[in-house]
Amino acid sequence: MAIFDRRRVPAPEVSIPPIYEPLVGAVDQQEAGPSRRDRTNDEARPIFLKTGLINQANGSGYIESGGVKIACSVYGPRPKLPPYTPQGTLNLEVKFAPFASDPRRAPLRDTEPIPLSVLLTQSLIPTLQLHLLPKSSIDVYLLVLESDTPTNVLSAGLTVASAAIADAGIAMNGLGVGSVVASSSLSSSGSDLAKPSSASLLLLDPSEDEEKASESKVLVGSMPALGRITNLFFTGEAGINEACDMIEKAITSSRDTHTVLAQSLLEGAAERGIGAETATT
């Protein structure tokens, strides 16, 4: 109040978004209910996963999951430059192709991959047995070819990175798998706000629109084969019970994803002429 900027036109202190009249014939998503048409709320979108597509790399994987496409290559274990480290190091780099999202990305000025790389490294490290690899490094490169939301990129990224590392024959504790659950309130009418925990709807593997409409979302990185969590990334607001339900649901679905991952590894082995007859069962 005391200092008034005379040189510029200051913005008003309070602003309200414009209110549009609903289009005739258009169905509002919230009004129609957030339930899905093409799948149930507990159903994840199908996954395509294949290992060994990049010849130069020691191990590689390619995943298509929902709106995300990622190619991952793994190099190593290879000798690391000094200084000496008694454990192996994991270098992980997420890169977005310029065409990976709309609007297009500027390759070097893009800052989004850096926190994604850090989070993904965190989720991946518990799956590895780095104490067996002194003086070595494992280099993992993820190239995102198509993306919808950062959460889905992380989830698919963890799955494809473990597939590629397993394909490279690097010792792991278990296969890491990511899964996402979003929670959104059933309807936007005022009466339900009184009891948000019972009225919210949990959506497994949310699409971009579903995630935008949600109040909270959780990404769970886990090793289903061992029943362990490697990373938990929660955004938004939810009650304790609701949060537990979301995590529970994510863990259940990660078991299904794990099966897809294990199957693709067995298929990769079959292509090298090993265990062909067992892999088809």
Binding site: R78, G169, A171
Partner: protein, 335 residues
Amino acid sequence: MFSVSTVPPTSTQTFVDDFPSSTSHRKHQSESDAMAMDVDMDDEFGAGPSKRAIVTPGEVITSSKEYMRGHGTYVEETSVVSSVTGTIERVNKLISVKPVRSKYVPEVGDLVIGRIVEVGPQRWRVDANGRQDAVLMLSSVNLPGGVQRRKIESDALKMREFLAEGDLLVAEVQAFFGDGAMSLHTRSLKYGKLRNGQLLVVPPQLIRRLKSHFHHIPPPCGPTGVDIILGLNGYVWVSAGTTQEKREGGDGFDAEGVYSDKNDDITPEGRQAVSLISNIIKLVASEGIPLTETLIGEAYNWVQQQGHGVEAHGPLDTRDGERMLAEVAGVDISA
């Protein structure tokens, strides 16, 4: 290239917590005894969940009470769990998992082929397809002018004249360092610098430990024959042939030429023979068939009989390759 068929996620696999934990395991001892009897009958791992010969990381193989863990596995509570994708191998009570694909895991006495990456103080660092670069000490090579010659300071200064960065050599694994890096030696006339040929890189799993890793395909294949060295680290050297005496220090052995950088004159026929053998090895390796001398020899004879003489030196076309593998190795890849 490949067809994109998406898989709807479903749960068909078994998980650790689906199985009785350590306490209940002990409770049902009679039950596990009954399962142990099945082991002898079916040669399966009765105590654990895995009923398949191939496992993925994190998959429970069997109980750690009855079996010992080997390579590619670790112990989680009371189970032996796989840490790689591969086939289960069992020797008595020792369970190990052999990975489908991995870096070369060296053993003392293995014959390897490597490439010099760095010349350091008293040692060369050698890329031998392992987890760590291998080390070749100046004291573990034979220098020109006498096998048992003492290494003097001037030799250390001339190291790059013997082996420079990028040179290929064949050596034997002598020992390991604390961090698992291998130490090599070339203290035999069979070992040393390589020339007159070409290097092929195949998955190390395809080369088994054989009686000899030096093979010679005699002269109808090229004017002097073709030499093949199968390095256990997956590096294969195919070169124009020499006689046994020349190779192993007999008549006509050129002691001064051991560290020569110059290739000999190789006739076009000799080059064709080398490339034909290389193509056969590439084809066999691409289908994941283990390489042996007999297999390569038979494949070469097959190509000769089909009328693709050394004149037809290009890569075998797909149909010929399929037929060759079917008839020589008994592997059908047409599907």
